[in-house]
Symmetry: C2
Subunit: 358 residues, 2 copies
């Protein structure tokens, strides 16, 4: 199989973990006789520094012409502490999601058995939890009109959804539920928000088309609580852009660490695969970031964009095997991990590659 | 001391738990020779049924004329599943918050030692956690303009903050931090939202007035994760209405159960004291709801509105003693709780009263 992949490593640890993800793609190509070609593109702070623009046109053009995008992270503390900055790294990420029509963000949350003890949540609460989030990614308060008034003393953002935006992601979520445990929880704040009432209305309209799927609606506050109290009650979770952002970061604690969570952003065109962790400037350049979320993002790419199920499963199995062998990055190590088993980013990558070579 | 208290029990288990809260107030009055007088008022579904209005004028008038409000809960599943309902119970709660100018919602999160095992989070992660949330309560996407357009196929809400709204709650939060561990974490989504950028700007401006307070800013997604990963890192958390709604419900897992969490809503006039749990229609009328959040709300009232520190501490100690004696409601019981120690709402109330009688 011939595929062309754009690597957009971006900022902070994005560079470090994406390097490992790419090595995994190269090894899989080699082993299974695929021809994967690569190109790189700029985004975020890195792109601002080089071009003044967090999302250069070239990045969009190259991405559209590719078969898949391996993404790192965007962000820089410089902008976070400067609320008046006009140009920001995040505009790159939001811009590419919008430009490529990547309206469905899939975030699978599944704990590798070996990491049961790495979580702050009790093992018996976690064991067996397996959640697939569908986060809407190109609408909501992220993209509604925003601005200042009253001599800059008032600031607003518009939380806004249209029927077709809710429909298309809801259908994807219901379809996925049919291939899983046939449960879907839609999360909104319909007791307060008009956009949530439309959200609920549309989900209620679609539900009868999937009579086998058991549907429930939860308010975001209750969902944030239930996710920790009883993660096993969830199968597919369907939610808007903002609520999905919050819930999936929170859910990282179910998977032991944010460093383990991969995501797929899909929609009209080329899919984008990215760890859910951000640029993590506090550990950038130290070579200690966990590359497994990038490796698992590669598995999602192989599966969803290329339909290479066997290859995808092999990558997931390699992660499992490396964890079973006792190797950890710092974020998933615990008191019982011997210090020689606490690996850096590339060392962990090497263990994955060793497993894949077989 | 003479005080006039309005009891607004509202919907669902609000009725059951508030009855216990009121008994505690009566006993405290008796024991300490205060004169507490009571009146009741309608809100929510109960008010809609009786008057068609979720917040009758009389409720506002009585509340304004009182010294404190003991509040239950609002909500009814009937409206949740009908996104097109024009009149909703929640309008009563949002309306009274706005009408009384209750812009600061204090939600203390502290685990009673005896409940360490009731949480889904590991004991070693929880032990020593002690967080005080300041949730802004009369602004944000809750109160901005909302509506439909495009033949009702598009729905929007406006997330909006003005400088003075952020200032007045930030000052309260900083003041509180000075009386505690002198740490303040402000939560926003300033990498995406303009209203959050104003939020951060204002908090940054106020911070230098409190040089002893260590300030950090976290994005809501990261905060939702850190709250579970390492609750001990937080002291005072300052946040907007929507993010505060989500984080405090999530934080209930730190306190073992939502049934344990009290809140105080204060501002320009009479303070309102309410459990953070909702109307919980699934258990309404069964007499099994946990009344301790209402009892702890009474403690907050005694302390904040009446300045009765000794009385407030005695109520908290009574809760502690009853838990130490091994009594539990269903929500905070675990495998090790003997079944005869699992009490109903009024039985638990009776144990509290017995403790207070001494
Ligand atoms: C970096 C930021 C804009 C982004 C988001 O909020 O979507 C991130 O948190 C994510 O979840 O991918
Ligand atoms: C009932 C609802 C409107 C309310 C809110 O969202 O504020 C509740 O969840 C709360 O936290 O008090």
């Amino acid at each position: 199989m011939k595929k062309h992949i754009i690597v957009i490593a971006g900022d902070g640890i994005g560079q470090e973990v994406t390097a490992v993800g790419k090595q995994v793609l190269e090894l899989i190509a080699d082993k299974y006789n695929h021809e994967f070609t690569f190109d790189t593109a700029l985004i975020g702070h890195a792109a601002i520094e080089a071009t003044g623009n967090p999302l250069p046109d070239e990045t969009v053009t190259k991405s559209k012409a590719s078969d898949a995008i391996l993404f790192g992270a965007v962000g820089h503390p410089k902008y976070d502490n400067d609320p008046s900055a006009k140009v920001r790294p995040e505009q790159g990420l939001l811009g590419i999601r919008k430009a490529l029509g990547l309206y469905a963000n899939l975030r699978p949350i599944k704990l590798f058995d070996e990491l049961l003890s790495a979580s702050s949540i009790k093992a018996e609460i976690l064991q067996g939890a397996d959640i697939l989030f569908f986060r809407e990614l190109t609408g909501d308060v992220y993209f509604g009109e925003k601005g200042r008034s009253d001599d800059r003393n008032t600031a607003y953002d518009t939380m806004i959804y249209s029927r077709y935006e809710i429909e298309r992601i809801a259908v994807k979520a219901f379809d996925a539920a049919m291939t899983r445990r046939k449960k879907l929880c839609s999360v909104d704040k319909a007791n307060v928000l008009e956009s949530s009432r439309l959200w609920r209305e549309v989900v209620q309209e679609i539900a009868p088309r999937y009579p086998e799927v058991e549907v429930e609606h939860q308010f975001i506050d209750a969902a944030a609580m239930l996710l920790i109290k009883d993660p096993k009650r969830f199968d597919v979770v369907l939610t808007g852009n903002l609520f999905g952002d919050i819930l999936t970061d929170e859910a990282s604690q179910i998977a032991g660490s944010m460093g383990m969570l991969a995501s797929a952003s899909v929609g009209d065109t080329t899919g984008l695969y990215e760890p859910i962790h951000g640029s993590a400037h506090d550990i950038t350049g130290k070579g200690i970031a966990n590359p497994l979320a990038s490796v698992l993002s590669v598995a999602l790419m192989l599966d969803i964009s290329f339909g290479l199920k066997t290859e995808a499963e092999e990558v997931v199995s390699a992660v499992d095997a490396v964890l079973k062998a006792g190797f950890r990055t710092r974020d998933i190590a615990d008191k019982s991990t011997p210090s020689e088993n606490v690996l850096g980013t590339q060392q962990m990558g090497d263990e994955i590659l060793r497993q894949l070579k077989g």
